[in-house]
Amino acid sequence: MTDALLQVKNLSKRFGGIVATDDLSLDVRQGELHALIGPNGAGKTTLITQLTGQLTPDSGAVLFAGEDISSLPAYQRSQLGLARSFQITSLFLDMTALDNVALAVQAHAGHSFRFWAPARGEAELRDPARAALARVGLGERMNVRAAAMSHGEHRLIEIAMALAAKPRLLLLDEPMAGLGPEESARMVTLLRELKRDYAVLLVEHDMEAVFALADRITVLVYGRAIATGAPDAIRANEDVKRAYLGEQKAVTRHG
């Protein structure tokens, strides 16, 4: 599998008695949108956290573009091109959308021990931030304070902040959580566009969106991948039906 951008090999993580990641292997190919689904508590967020390096796995390896990044700290992984969005929105609410994203750009622009030049005047920070906001459709709203924006817009800022890090692979943790039908549709359109430029690992509870967007789907239950395949194959898979899709309603309610 030469075109795998991300390879996860036999990853395991326990929290006391809970097995959050259980001998998990999967890969995301160049140009692919790979969806990761599974009931609440299946270990989806925990997997993302291990990929970004914020959490250390007990065993197993993570390869990015063929290189073993298992022992790299989080900031070095993000410099290589791994960017995540958060399941729970976490922004700088007292700053404008543009300031939020510009900070994400600044995080990748060397050290910040620069005390004199006005940061808001630096094209090196502002231009990529503007571009990322325009990309997610917030070009007109850049100068509005995040606190005054809707939840749907917050989700979009989250994505813009991930894009601002110049990623090669986007790790999106439930970008549609809490969105209304209209906002969800907007997000699906956006993800479909992003998919053209980035490899994406998408964690999402919205099955309609997942089946519409994904090239491949992996189903996670109790930290273990019980199936990986094209959407049609997953839909037809008996194990998956039993373990997950049958109880989908109950699950989405939690999400």
Partner: protein, 317 residues
């Protein structure tokens, strides 16, 4: 932000305040009102100390309850050197700055490992420690403090014993400090510090090692306050442990909150209002604190952005 708002109510209020402060010695000279000059010299020095606290507290979200310690360190650096016969300001002031910076580095390195109430308590504890150390220095007056017989000598460059020259030195240093803070908070460094106030976890998640930026900010603030301490010792020709007592740190916090947290000129408003009220009320009654306390409480409760907020400044929330 400085530029855009020049024509607003707020911009005009700030301009008038600066103009009045600049002209105060003229007024005092014309009317022979020396008292006003003395009072406002003290106000400018406290405004400088409050501005430095505002950098960490207002912009950085670091609620230091021990900021008066640097007033004492700067003051004692001048006092002790003078006592030992070293009157040159070119020695005294760099020492005041260096010792304040070093003290801030140590206190910051330890206290910034904690957050919230713990941070407040640890900064308070360090300041109280400095207070008791000063009170124990028998050679330098102990509890009673240390009289400074000769003000810092700048070899004829400026005469600190001249009331007007000293006033303008305080005024210029205050403006310079505010300009420095203005540049800092709008720089990349300032964005990081303010980002950490807003959402520290997120800052770390996007790859900022926040601790070292916050510590640097803490040291800058402590150093600026050390300069205020050197001024204060010269102003009173005296330094004593009381300058570091926790109520003094509390006063500085009140000035910052009163003026408007994270507002560039807020600490100046805060220092003027607090010290002038204190002066006026204490002339009417010896129980002035009983009146001042509730007044401050009302301002803080009802004008959440402080004085600068009332003038129309948008605050973060």
């Amino acid at each position: 932000m400085m530029k855009q708002s020049l024509l607003s109510v707020r911009g005009i209020a700030i301009a008038i305040m600066l103009l009045l402060l600049a002209l105060l010695p003229v007024y005092s000279h014309a009317t022979g009102n020396i008292f006003a000059l003395t009072l406002f010299t003290r106000i400018l020095i406290y405004a400088l100390a409050a501005a430095s606290l505002n950098l960490i507290m207002g912009f950085g979200g670091m609620m230091s309850f021990g900021h008066a310690a640097y007033l004492g360190i700067g003051g004692y650096a001048v006092g002790i050197l003078a006592h030992e016969g070293i009157a040159s300001g070119f020695v005294q002031w760099p020492v005041a700055i260096a010792v304040s910076a070093l003290f801030a580095l140590v206190i910051g390195a330890l206290s910034l490992r904690t957050r919230g109430v713990y941070f407040i308590m640890i900064t308070l504890a360090f300041a109280q420690m400095a207070y008791y150390i000063a009170a124990g220095m028998a050679r330098y007056g102990g509890d009673d403090g240390l009289t400074i017989y000769k003000r810092s000598d700048f070899a004829g460059l400026i005469n600190l014993s001249d009331k007007v020259q000293f006033y303008y030195l305080c005024f210029v240093l205050l403006l310079a400090a505010i300009y420095l803070i203005y540049r800092i908070v709008n720089s990349r460094f300032g964005m990081v510090v303010q980002g950490a106030r807003s959402n520290e976890k997120r800052m770390q998640a996007i790859g900022f090692p926040t601790y070292r930026y916050q510590l640097t900010c803490f040291v800058i603030a402590g150093t600026l306050c050390g300069i205020a301490g050197a001024l204060l010792a010269n102003n009173t020709d005296f330094v004593s442990p009381a300058i570091m007592y926790w109520t003094r740190s509390g006063d500085l916090m009140v000035m910052v909150i009163l003026g408007g947290m994270g507002s560039l000129f807020g600490p100046v408003f805060g220092a003027i209002v607090l010290l002038v009220l204190e002066e006026l009320l204490s002339q009417f009654t010896e129980y002035w604190q009983i009146i001042l306390g509730p007044m401050l409480l009302l301002i803080v409760l009802f004008a959440r952005g402080g004085i600068d907020g009332m003038l129309g400044r948008r605050t973060h929330d």
